[in-house]
Structure formats: structure tokens, C-alpha cells
């Protein structure tokens, strides 16, 4: 560390660093990492939104634990909110009301906590989309993807356990639904429900148990997994978008100290600030309006928080199938939407990187991100999945939509049911075709330059559109496409007549590979690209004489810009004169 200054802060800093280094060897780490380069793109900040909103959740949540009482024992409310005065309610609800009305800043912190939980899950979702659509989950980042899927599930659990804690009419109804779902599980359902709730519903045990999960188990797991997640990003280095100077073997961006620290740190304060602003300006979860939870009361328009909406929608749209086999009841109408569909979704998410790698035979390390158009099937699958999720999500609010737009929810539900089945495949096909179209456009740009929109009339009368060569940025990005080829079809027996024992699997793999890759547009070779760009420069150079013309201080005799060519007539009049 150079110390060419007498600034006392730097002297103390240097001394501290030495003190710590003598005990931990930290200067080695600092030396290597203070200049660590991070690529800069706004979409890389989505994960940061999740991280920072989680920090806000922790800070505000800790404050709330000092006031909240997770008890279902009934008390009579004696606080300042008049419409509930003298009403019997659980201590959990009463303490939540006290936080909102008696503790100064309590409502602000409670609302910040709830808003940042909503934002946390949203940021995770958008971050996951970015990672998926750019192929950032490919080798070497598959483990990080799995950690991310686990974090998604934990975030949902954290949110659900959290908003059930105030024991209000809205969230308590959600707990009642959970009890119904647990009960529907074959074989063990009744026992599962009774164990979780400590007996019948609602009992007096479930809120304290949710509390333990919400403040200890789940945040502990989330913190541990976030640490693992960030450590992997640190050691593997962040992936980057293709561009000038960027290769698969480098990172181009800004150093940790000072630029990245300032930007990331600044972004933390911006996220924190915006959450504080909306915590103060916009109401969220007004539990005093819903009233305390009673198992025989319910409000119209009962919905869970947005990130659970898709599960509620699945429950609403599911047909009412139930079977009784040998006297035992299997409630498909509950199991499929609440256990099977989320199970398939999360399993699919977790397995996708491995499935895609197996299907494409791609074992290379990828540090450059892929443009979504260059992986049409992956992009199509992603959009189809989002469509499926989105329709379920809309279904979760079907009665609110019906009230708002004056329609019948019966009609809406049927429409959504049909759309749920036909929507995703249609979305897949449309997305794939759009991607392929964009790939064709890219190929044209590489081979012919881009259409400048300027039309040139050549001396012999031909009209051409001037193509310009791509600028270096675009060229770097478009030519980053990787060519991937369909895996070869297996042979049943080889040249010596020996049967292939893996024929079935190999055949499946070939089919899958074909599904993923067969329609991809071939990337032109580097030589072809160079030739194409040169050709485009030529075409652009055709315009050069025009500019020369303009520079000459001559009146080109008003020919409308037509270039002269030896032997060519100059005007119509001249031509007529010539003939005569």
C-alpha cells in the first residue's frame, strides 16, 4: 500500500489493515480483489434489487419482532382504533394493531417490511428470467441456478408465513386453505394437518410455529444460501453480454473499488429510499379493515399476496375432480393445483440446465451471455412457462377482475381454463418464430450490412438501397452467436454388427437435440462476415461521389443529383435535342 499522503484517515486505515492482516492474512485477499472487475449492465442489477430488499426486510423485521406477540390467546382490544374497540381478538392481531397505531414509526416499518417482501419476490422472479433468457445458468453456473431455485421457494415460504402472522381475516382464510390442502394429501393428509396445526383448525399453535419458521428457520436458510450464491458469483466472476473487447475468457467492466462499490452501494440506498417512500405514502395490508380472524367469517375478494396468486388461481380454475377408491378419497381438485403443478414447475426449473445441456451436447464453459434470439427453443419454453404462470395468476384475481370490468367470473374462469391449455403452446410457437426471424435478420446484417434507408440511383438508372457496414459494437454483438449442431442420430448396430446398448437413450437424445437446434439459422463464417462487411462499405462508398459533388463549389445544373457518366445524356431536353 503506497502511503504518499499524510491524511490521518488513510494512516489509520493503513494501520488497521496491517493489524488485521497480521491476524487473518487479509491483505492478500484485498490485493487481489479490490480491483476485481464487474461487468456493467442494468439487467445485472436485478439480483441486487432482491439482495437489497432482503436487507430491508431483515432490518424492518427485526424491529417488528420487538413488538409483535405471536400468541393466539384471545384478548379484548383496548387501543386507539375505534372500530375495533372492545372486540375480542388474538394477541397476535392486537399486537399488530398496536405496532400500526401506538408505536411511532411502527406503521411505516410494518409497511416497509411488507412492501419489501413483495419486491423481494418480484426481483427474484425478474432476475431469474434474466438468467434464464440469457443462458447464464449454463456451465459453470448450474449450481448457482439450483441455489437460486431453492431461494425462490424459500422466498415464497417466507412471504406466506410472514403475512399470516397478524392473524387477520384475510390471511387467516389463507391458513384455512392450507389446512384444506394438507388434509387432501393421500394417506397422511389428516395427520399432516393435525401435526402442523397442533390439532384441529385453527387451534392455538400454528401462529407461534409460523413465527419460528418466519424469523429463524427460513431467514437462516435464505442467508446461508444467499452467501453461497454470492460466493459462487464472486469466484466464477459474473458473466457478461457480448460486445467489443469482451471474450469468453475475460471480464470487461469497472473495478470494485471505487466504481462498482459506489454504484452498487448507491443502488442499495436507492432501493432502501424508494421502499421507505412507499412505506410512508402508500397503504399495504391494512389489517384493521379486515378485522380479526374468525373461522366462520370471510370477506369477498379474498386473495393471497401476489406471489401466491398463481396457486390460488390454479385452485380456482381446476375442474372439480375427486375419486373414491376402495373407500379412500383422492381429491384431484386440490392435489393437482396445490401439489402437482408447483411440483412440476419447480422440478422443471431445477432440472432445466441439465436437460438443455444433455439435449444440446454442450459441455463448454460459457461466460458470454447468449442473446435470447439465438436460443429460440429455450426462449420459447421460457415464454410458454411464463404464459402458463401468468394465466394462473390472472385466475387468482378472477372475482376482482369481474367486479372491476363488470363481467361474469363464470365466463372468465372458463376462458382462462381454455387459454391455460392452448396459450402456452401458441406462445411457444410465436416466440420461436420471432426468434428465428430475428436470427435471419442478423444473418442478413452480417452478410450485407444494415439497410441505411437511403436509396441511391446509379448512373445507369438502377435504384439500390445503400447498406452500411455494422459499427464495431453491433458487429461484436451479432457475431457472438455460437453455432450448435444437432447431435447425430444413433445407429442400432455398429459396423461390426455389435448392438448399441444405449440406442433408446441416444435416440431420445437425438430427438431432443433436434427439437432444440434443428431450426437455428447458420452463423456465417468469419470470412463470410468480413467479405459481407467489406461489400457493404463498398456500397456505402458509392455515395461518396455525392459528397464530393457537394464539396465542389459547382452548380450541378439542377439534374436532381443524377451522377454524370461519360456518354450519357444529361437531361430529357438534351436527349430530345440529341435525336433531332
Amino acid at each position: 500500500m503506497s502511503t504518499t499522503t499524510n491524511h490521518p484517515v488513510e494512516q489509520v486505515g493503513g494501520a488497521t489493515a496491517k493489524y488485521v492482516d497480521e491476524r487473518l492474512g487479509s491483505n492478500k485477499f484485498l490485493g487481489r480483489n479490490l480491483g476485481k472487475v464487474f461487468p456493467d449492465h442494468w439487467s445485472f442489477m436485478l439480483g441486487e434489487i432482491a439482495l437489497y430488499s432482503f436487507v430491508v426486510v431483515l432490518l424492518t423485521g427485526t424491529f417488528l419482532t420487538f413488538f409483535y406477540d405471536p400468541s393466539m390467546v384471545e384478548v379484548v382490544y383496548n387501543g386507539s382504533y375505534v372500530p375495533l374497540k372492545g372486540i375480542e381478538m388474538s394477541k397476535a392481531y392486537a399486537s399488530s394493531l398496536d405496532i400500526s397505531f401506538e408505536v411511532r414509526g411502527g406503521l411505516l416499518i410494518r409497511q416497509m417490511h411488507h412492501w419489501s417482501a413483495l419486491i423481494f419476490v418480484a426481483a427474484i422472479a425478474v432476475h431469474m428470467f434474466r438468467v434464464f433468457f440469457t443462458g447464464a445458468f449454463r456451465k459453470p453456473r448450474e449450481f448457482n441456478w439450483l441455489v437460486g431455485v431453492a431461494l425462490t421457494a424459500l422466498a415464497l415460504a417466507a412471504g406466506f408465513t410472514g403475512y399470516s402472522l397478524p392473524d387477520d381475516l384475510l390471511s387467516g382464510t389463507g391458513l384455512q386453505i392450507i389446512r384444506g390442502i394438507l388434509q387432501s394429501i393421500p394417506l397422511i393428509g389428516t395427520w399432516a394437518a393435525f401435526l402442523v396445526f397442533g390439532g384441529e383448525f385453527p387451534g392455538t399453535d400454528v401462529i407461534p410455529r409460523l413465527y419460528a419458521a418466519h424469523i429463524l428457520l427460513i431467514p437462516g436458510l435464505i442467508l446461508a444460501l444467499i452467501t453461497v450464491h454470492l460466493m459462487m458469483v464472486w469466484t466464477q466472476k459474473h458473466s457478461q453480454f457480448p460486445g467489443p473487447g469482451r471474450t469468453n475468457n475475460n471480464v470487461v467492466g469497472y473495478p470494485l473499488l471505487p466504481v462498482y462499490m459506489a454504484k452498487a452501494g448507491g443502488f442499495f440506498f436507492i432501493v432502501f429510499g424508494i421502499i421507505a417512500l412507499i412505506g410512508g405514502l402508500v397503504t399495504v395490508n391494512p389489517i384493521w379493515v379486515f378485522g380479526p380472524y374468525m373461522p366462520d367469517q370471510v370477506s369477498a375478494g379474498t386473495q393471497p399476496d401476489w406471489y401466491i396468486g398463481w396457486l390460488d388461481g390454479a385452485l380456482r380454475l381446476m375442474p372439480n375432480w375427486e375419486s373414491v377408491i376402495a373407500g379412500f378419497t383422492i381429491s384431484w381438485n386440490v392435489l393437482i393445483p396445490s401439489v402437482v403443478i408447483p411440483g412440476i414447475l419447480f422440478t422443471g426449473l431445477a432440472l432445466y440446465p441439465f436437460l438443455e445441456a444433455w439435449a444440446t451436447g454442450d459441455k463448454r464453459e460459457h461466460n458470454l451471455l447468449e442473446r435470447p434470439r439465438n436460443a429460440p427453443v429455450r426462449t420459447g419454453i421460457g415464454i410458454a412457462a411464463i404464459t402458463f404462470y401468468g394465466i394462473l395468476w390472472i385466475g387468482g384475481g378472477n372475482d376482482v377482475i369481474a367486479t372491476l370490468f363488470n363481467m361474469s367470473f363464470n365466463v372468465l374462469s372458463w376462458t382462462l381454463r381454455i387459454t391455460l391449455i392452448i396459450g402456452p403452446p401458441i406462445a411457444f410457437l410465436i416466440t420461436k418464430r420471432i426468434c428465428l426471424g430475428l436470427q435471419r435478420k442478423d444473418r442478413e446484417k452480417l452478410l450485407h450490412g444494415y439497410e441505411s434507408g437511403r436509396v441511391l440511383r446509379l448512373p445507369h438508372g438502377e435504384f439500390i438501397e445503400v447498406h452500411q457496414p455494422l459499427n464495431y459494437k453491433e458487429l461484436a454483438v451479432i457475431s457472438s452467436k455460437e453455432d450448435m449442431h444437432v447431435l447425430p442420430a444413433p445407429v442400432k448396430t455398429d459396423a461390426d454388427g455389435v448392438r448399441n446398448p444405449n440406442y433408446r437413450i441416444d435416440q431420445l437424445r437425438h430427438k431432443l437435440s433436434s427439437f432444440f437446434l434443428r431450426d437455428n439459422i447458420e452463423r456465417p463464417t468469419d470470412a463470410e462476415i468480413a467479405a459481407g462487411q467489406a461489400h457493404a462499405s463498398h456500397s456505402a462508398a458509392l455515395e461518396a461521389p455525392l459528397y464530393e459533388y457537394e464539396e465542389l463549389d459547382q452548380d450541378p445544373v439542377g439534374h436532381g443529383g443524377v451522377l454524370h457518366h461519360p456518354g450519357m445524356s444529361e437531361t430529357n431536353r438534351e436527349q430530345i435535342e440529341q435525336r433531332q
Binding site: H41, W42, S43, M45, V82, P83, L84, K85, G86, I87, S100, F101, L107, Q111, W115, L118, I119, A122, A123, V126, L169, L170, G266, I270, V271, I274, I278, G280, L281, V282, T283, V284, N285, P286, V289, F290, G291, M294, Q297, V298, S299, A300, G301, T302, Q303, P304, D305, W306, G309, G397, D399, V400, A402, T403, N406, M407, S408, F409, N410, V411
Partner: protein
């Protein structure tokens, strides 16, 4: 005949014709508009007669000549003055068009006309009466008790904050934020359309006053946490978060990434 045609170009004739035409229109209008009687205070007998006239004109085509019901409208025998006042003064009746639900709109009849029609219908068969001002007085009612009753009897259709809710086949329970105490009482006691009937035996007047007090408190309630987003719950909150807040975050992220000039 010759007298008139000889003077047809007389300038005074034009003026006379104009005055005559205006007068004719005016007289016709006042005759026609006087068909609806404006006075209602000549005793109940006249009121019932007036009500019957109004009924026959505006209601009998759907509800039958003797209010016994017809294909398009249920019987009005026994619905009581309260039902008539509720339906007509909120403009729900007459129906604008046959549909799933009668919507509240601009009332066609004025208060006196409504009173007359109510008197007529209640003269045919006994039913819930229009509430007196003592019955409507909710000032001394217990708001908290009203809240409990509201959540037991009303929230499942009208939503916990009275914002309204969806019923089957496009019907709905309306938003209560503009309802007057009289409308609330009359609706409870007459059970309009899909709404069940909460008679004074099942829900005593004291309890009705408490419910009304609670609804009035909901109408006047401040929003302690800030902008209320309609008080319809997580759907609005999620939408706001995605559309406004997340857009702000993306905007900030893009701003951070853009190179400074």
C-alpha cells in the same frame, strides 16, 4: 278561405303564426307535463291513487297490472314501502335494460312520486315500511359491534371494506361507499335482487343501526398508511408494486448503467 289566402303575405300574419305555434307547443307541454301530479300532500288516499297511476304507467308492464308479478318482474305484493323506496330512489328501477343486475343510476321519479308509489304498493299487502328518522339514527350505536355484525353478515358479499364483490353470472354486490343510511336500512330489510332479507326479527333495529354506523365509519375513514389503493387488498397492492415501484427500480438501474455525458 279567400280571406285567409288573400292575407297570406301579410307581415303581421307571420308574427301571429309564430306566437300561435309557440303557444300551442307551450300549452301542449304544460298539459302533458301536468299528467304527473306534483302535489302529494292531500292525504294518503290521494297518494295511493297517485301511486297507482305512476305504477300503472311505469311498472305494470313488468310487474303486472295488480303487482302480482309477470314474466319479466317478480311480484311486489308484500315487498313493502321500503323496497319500493330503495329500488326507485336509487334509480335501479325502472330497469334500463334486462340484464343480470339492476344498477343504481339517475332516479327518474322525485321523492314525492316515490312516496306515492310506496304508499300504493304497501296498500296492496303489508311489508317493511320506510324507516323513520329514529330508526335510522345511528349516532349512538356501537361502531365496533357494528363491525362484528358487518363481518358476519355483509363482508362475504360486499367485501370487508365495503368495496363490493362479485356474485355468480355477472351479478355483483355493490360498493357501499356512497350509500345513505336510509338505503342501507331499506336494502337490509327488503333484500333487493340477490341480497338476502335481514328482517327486524333476524337483525334487530339496534343491530341495523350499529351496522350502519360501521358503514358510515368506513366511508369517512382516513387511510392511516397513505394512499389507499381502493382497499381491495393484495391484487391492487401487487399491481401497484409491479407497475409503479418496480418500474422505478428498473429506471434507476438503467440510469446507473448509462454513461454520463
Amino acid at each position: 278561405m279567400k280571406f285567409l289566402s288573400a292575407r297570406r303575405r301579410n307581415p303581421f300574419v307571420a308574427a301571429l303564426l309564430l306566437v300561435g305555434a309557440l303557444g300551442a307547443v307551450g300549452v301542449t307541454f304544460s298539459v302533458v307535463s301536468n299528467i304527473q301530479p306534483a302535489q302529494a300532500s292531500l292525504g294518503t288516499q290521494t297518494q295511493v291513487e297517485e301511486g297507482k297511476k305512476l305504477y300503472l304507467e311505469g311498472c305494470s308492464s313488468c310487474h303486472g297490472i295488480d303487482a302480482q308479478g309477470a314474466t319479466n318482474g317478480p311480484t311486489l305484493l308484500g315487498v313493502g314501502a321500503a323496497a319500493v323506496h330503495f329500488q326507485v330512489s336509487t334509480g335501479r328501477m325502472p330497469l334500463a335494460a334486462p340484464g343480470a343486475q339492476a344498477t343504481a343510476k339517475e332516479a327518474i321519479y322525485n321523492e314525492e312520486e316515490v312516496a306515492a308509489m310506496s304508499a300504493y304498493i304497501s296498500s296492496l299487502a303489508p311489508g317493511p315500511a320506510i324507516p323513520t328518522s329514529e330508526e335510522l339514527d345511528y349516532e349512538s350505536a356501537d361502531i365496533a359491534a357494528g363491525g362484528v355484525l358487518f363481518r358476519i353478515n355483509c363482508a362475504q358479499c360486499h367485501q370487508a371494506a365495503g368495496q363490493g364483490g362479485a356474485l355468480t353470472q355477472g351479478k355483483y354486490a355493490p360498493n357501499l361507499m356512497q350509500s345513505t343510511p336510509q338505503e342501507i336500512y331499506e336494502a337490509m330489510v327488503s333484500g333487493p335482487q340477490s341480497m338476502p332479507v335481514f328482517s327486524n326479527d333476524t337483525l334487530p333495529i339496534k343491530d341495523k343501526q350499529a351496522v350502519t354506523a360501521y358503514i358510515m365509519a368506513l366511508q369517512e375513514a382516513p387511510s392511516p398508511g397513505g394512499l389507499s389503493l381502493g382497499r381491495i387488498g393484495p391484487v391492487a397492492e401487487g399491481l401497484f408494486m409491479w407497475v409503479v415501484v418496480f418500474a422505478a427500480f428498473i429506471g434507476a438501474a438503467v440510469w446507473i448503467g448509462i454513461k454520463a455525458r
